[in-house]
């Protein structure tokens, strides 16, 4: 039995975990659910020794343990199956299986591998190269390695992301077998269906705190309420602009890019629309935006801009990781404006200074034309990006427009976007925050596993419906 008592974890001023308790019995599957940023990953990293807790105690079979290093966790029999398998792609399946094995005899290890494969119904060729395998198969190799090492506590982080239905069934069967043999299993997931079909007990985390705990049979409504903040009384949504002609159309667009790809997406975005993309991180929203902008080419299907007769629809894309993907570190505010605008071929130290100064005033950016992008705070970086959007832009695509911003900067950003929604254009933004979408957008698209599960005007759906769709229920 592993027991965590009153676990706190603080990163600088950020409280990632605040007094979380968790008890996992041998021979049971314990679910951990919660939104992005709820603290699930932090908790698991503490359990596997990758990060140390600020305070709290952990006991394992009644003995208090420190869990300061991954080695310690491993020697105690705590093993984790990561969302992105930690393996050596260039090596063979057998080599990967043998990694860190106490017994390094290839012939014997191959027998062990064959026995385990048979037991769980996996079909793996020992000589195959790991990088040729699917995510699901790589996961199977990892899982068997953990089982061989007599893992007593098995942690799985979103194990069904990116694997096939068949592989999922095999995995679930394997997990049930392991449970019946006495392994304590912790399943981190945001999919309620998985929790229902596998778990004996579930803990809900929200904002680093324990928001609920249930035994089987689960009460779905209670779980959802614990997972998501309750909806505050709806603030008056901005007056709906007149919906115009279609500005962007995707016909059966599919791609394998991103964590889960995009499957058969059919969407039309119209002039005057403010569309919010909901979904857990990596459910396809980013890929959707990148395809809409043209950074990615879809592998199948067609993206068209029906209104553009001759003139191309001017698009802009504001990525979530502003400094790494949107701005150019080392270049100044002035230089960013020179790059974004129509500048003459020859430049002087004064070129673009007036534009930059105007932008600094209009957008209240704390800086001078000579301030480099990396010296700006997150909010000011976002203001700079917004100030770079040209007047003619007709399709404004944003990824997490308020990520990392304080409340004031966030509100300012929304106000600005609403005020600048072009008559003949549209704004599409992805946000992990359902409230933001319900408040700001006129239409919501919910992404789940690379598909659009729900496409509704926000006044014809509910917070509950959207949050269910995020977890894969329609």
């Amino acid at each position: 039995m592993i027991e965590l008592r009153s676990i706190h974890k603080q990163f600088g001023t950020v409280k990632a975990l605040q007094g979380v308790n968790l008890r996992v019995r041998p021979g049971s599957i314990h679910g951990i659910i919660g939104e992005n940023g709820a603290g699930k990953s932090t908790l698991m990293k503490i359990l596997t020794g990758f990060i140390s807790r600020t305070s709290g105690t952990i006991t394992f079979d009644g003995r208090e343990i420190s869990l300061k290093t991954p080695e310690e966790a491993r020697s105690l029999g705590i093993g984790m199956l990561y969302q992105e398998p930690l393996d050596f792609p260039q090596l063979s399946v057998l080599d990967n299986f043998m990694a860190a094995a106490a017994d390094g005899n290839p012939a014997r290890q191959q027998q062990v591998l064959a026995r385990l494969c048979e037991k769980f119904g996996f079909e793996l060729k020992p000589k195959a190269c790991q990088e040729k395998l699917t995510v699901g198969e790589r996961q199977q190799v990892e899982l068997m390695r953990l089982i061989r090492d007599k893992c007593k506590v098995l942690i799985l982080d979103e194990p069904t992301t990116g694997i096939s239905q068949e592989q999922q069934e095999l995995l679930f069967e394997a997990l049930k077998k392991l449970r019946d043999e006495g392994t304590a299993i912790i399943l981190v997931s945001h999919k309620l269906a998985e929790i229902h079909s596998l778990c004996d007990r579930v803990t809900v985390l929200r904002h680093g705190k324990q928001a609920g705990e249930q035994e089987r049979p689960f009460d779905e409504k209670g779980l959802l309420q614990a997972m998501f903040d309750t909806l505050p009384t709806k603030s008056s949504r901005p007056a709906q602009k007149k919906i115009g002609r279609p500005i962007l159309r995707m016909d059966t667009v599919s791609t394998k890019a991103g964590r889960v790809g995009l499957h058969q997406v059919n969407v039309t975005i119209n002039e005057g629309e403010m569309v919010g993309l909901a979904g857990l991180d990596g459910s396809g929203q980013s890929v959707f935006l990148q395809i809409a902008y043209g950074l990615l080419e879809p592998e199948q299907g067609r993206v068209s801009t029906p209104v553009a007769e001759k003139d191309v629809v001017m698009r802009v894309f504001l990525p979530a990781d502003r400094l790494r993907e949107g701005l150019i570190a080392g270049l100044t505010i002035r230089e960013h404006h020179l790059l974004a605008g129509k500048s003459p071929f020859f430049l002087t130290a004064a070129s673009g200074r007036t534009t930059a100064e105007q932008a600094i005033n209009t957008y209240s950016i704390h800086g001078t034309p000579a301030t480099t992008a990396e010296r700006l705070s997150g909010g000011n970086q976002q203001r700079l990006l917004l100030s770079l959007i040209p007047e003619e832009a007709r399709l404004i695509l944003l990824e997490h427009p308020t990520r990392g911003l304080d409340v004031q900067s966030g509100q300012w950003t929304w106000q600005h976007l609403r005020a600048h929604l072009p008559e003949n254009g549209a704004i599409v933004f992805a946000s992990p925050d359902i409230e933001d979408i319900m408040e700001q957008a006129a239409r919501v698209l919910v992404f789940f596993n690379g598909r659009i599960l729900l496409d509704r005007p926000t006044d014809q759906t509910s917070y509950r419906e959207v949050s269910l769709a995020i977890t894969g229920r329609v």
Partner: protein, 347 residues
């Protein structure tokens, strides 16, 4: 606010340069003492060997010209975020392209025209060789380091083939190169000079051109943006591949010009070692300069002085001239160390 920031930046750069020099000088002195040489005697010999007369100084300048040209070319590729290791090959192809025109059968064309033509051909030869590496990267997914290195070997093979094959001297083929060109196809050089004034003027013009293009044009800004963050540059409607290719085209052209000038102005024939490692040395120069244009002429002058001065070492002190390589290496390592320490401290 603008100017005070730039003053403090200039100040910190100056401090850094002083740090590098102290560190490099210290390391070299220690090394020399360990090898039982007197540092002062060596520096003295190098000074008297290179700075005591115009003839000797112009010898230094003749090394400065190709090194400055290669370094200017590398400024563009480094700014675009590319490791253009193929400069050597670009120099060689420039030299070959220049030689093709110089070896044309007797014509009535005025020599000046042939010279201008062959220098142009040298630029084009170097550019094409650079673009090849760029296309290998853009279209074939071959990293420019490997592509450039591979192309260096190919260029070296081609030049050896030409010198020992189709272009060999009447009767014999030798490492000393092709037949010497007709006198009127040499760049004119005043008596007491070891460097052609035209070559000097060209090198300085190329440097000024680079300075202007990189720091005072939209093109330069875009190249810089691509080099820092190609992904973000795309959002500014800049195509990274295109600017990378343009940068390597310009860089290759400058390296090719260096090759052409070596053939026309220095050796007056095509020799196998026409590139003399200036391409690789240029990489070090630009790194030392912190990828900025302004310090490049001085740093290249310093390296040229080291190379020219060290020629005196065997004559005056019976020390092999390869010692200059040790000094060069110590300087570069010191510079990298100072840069590295600074970024470690900033983390």
């Amino acid at each position: 606010m603008d100017s005070s920031a730039s003053v403090s930046r200039a100040g910190s750069t100056l401090l850094q340069v002083i740090g590098i020099m102290i560190l490099a000088a210290g390391a070299v002195c220690l090394l020399l003492i360990a090898l039982d040489f007197s540092p002062t005697a060596i520096v003295g010999a190098m000074f008297s060997g290179s700075l005591t007369s115009w003839l000797k100084f112009s010898q230094t300048l003749s090394i400065w010209v190709p090194l400055l040209l290669c370094s200017c070319g590398l400024l563009f590729t480094f700014q675009a975020g590319l490791w253009n290791i193929g400069v050597e090959g670009q120099v060689v192809m420039g030299a070959i392209a220049a030689t093709i025109l110089l070896r044309l059968p007797e014509t009535t064309l005025p020599p000046t025209l042939i010279l201008i033509g062959s220098l142009t051909a040298a630029c084009i030869g170097g550019s094409l060789w650079g673009i090849l590496a760029g296309l290998l990267k853009n279209r074939g997914g071959v990293n420019e380091i490997f592509g450039g290195l591979g192309l260096n070997f190919v260029a070296q093979g081609i030049i050896l083939y030409l010198i020992f094959g189709p272009w060999k001297r009447a009767g014999i083929a030798s490492m000393s190169g092709t037949d010497i060109f007709a006198r009127d196809l040499w760049l004119s050089m005043p008596a007491g000079w070891r460097v052609a004034p035209i070559a000097l003027i060209l090198a300085i013009s190329v440097f000024l051109f680079s300075l202007l293009l990189l720091n005072r044009t939209r093109f330069g800004l875009r190249v810089k943006a691509v080099g820092i963050n190609a992904r973000a540059a795309q959002l500014f409607h800049i195509r990274p591949e295109r600017y990378g290719l343009l940068a390597i085209l310009i860089g290759g052209g400058m390296a090719g010009l260096a090759g052409g000038l070596q053939v026309i102005g220095v050796y007056h024939r095509l020799i196998p070692a026409v590139s003399s490692g200036y391409g690789y040395l240029g990489l070090l120069v630009v790194m030392l300069a912190g990828y900025k244009a302004l310090p490049v002429p001085l740093i290249t002058l310093f390296f040229a002085w080291l190379a020219a001065g060290s020629i005196q070492l065997p004559i005056m002190l019976q020390i092999d001239s390869s010692l200059s390589g040790v000094i060069q290496g110590a300087c570069v390592l010191s510079a990298l160390l100072v840069h590295g320490l600074r970024s470690v401290r900033q983390r």
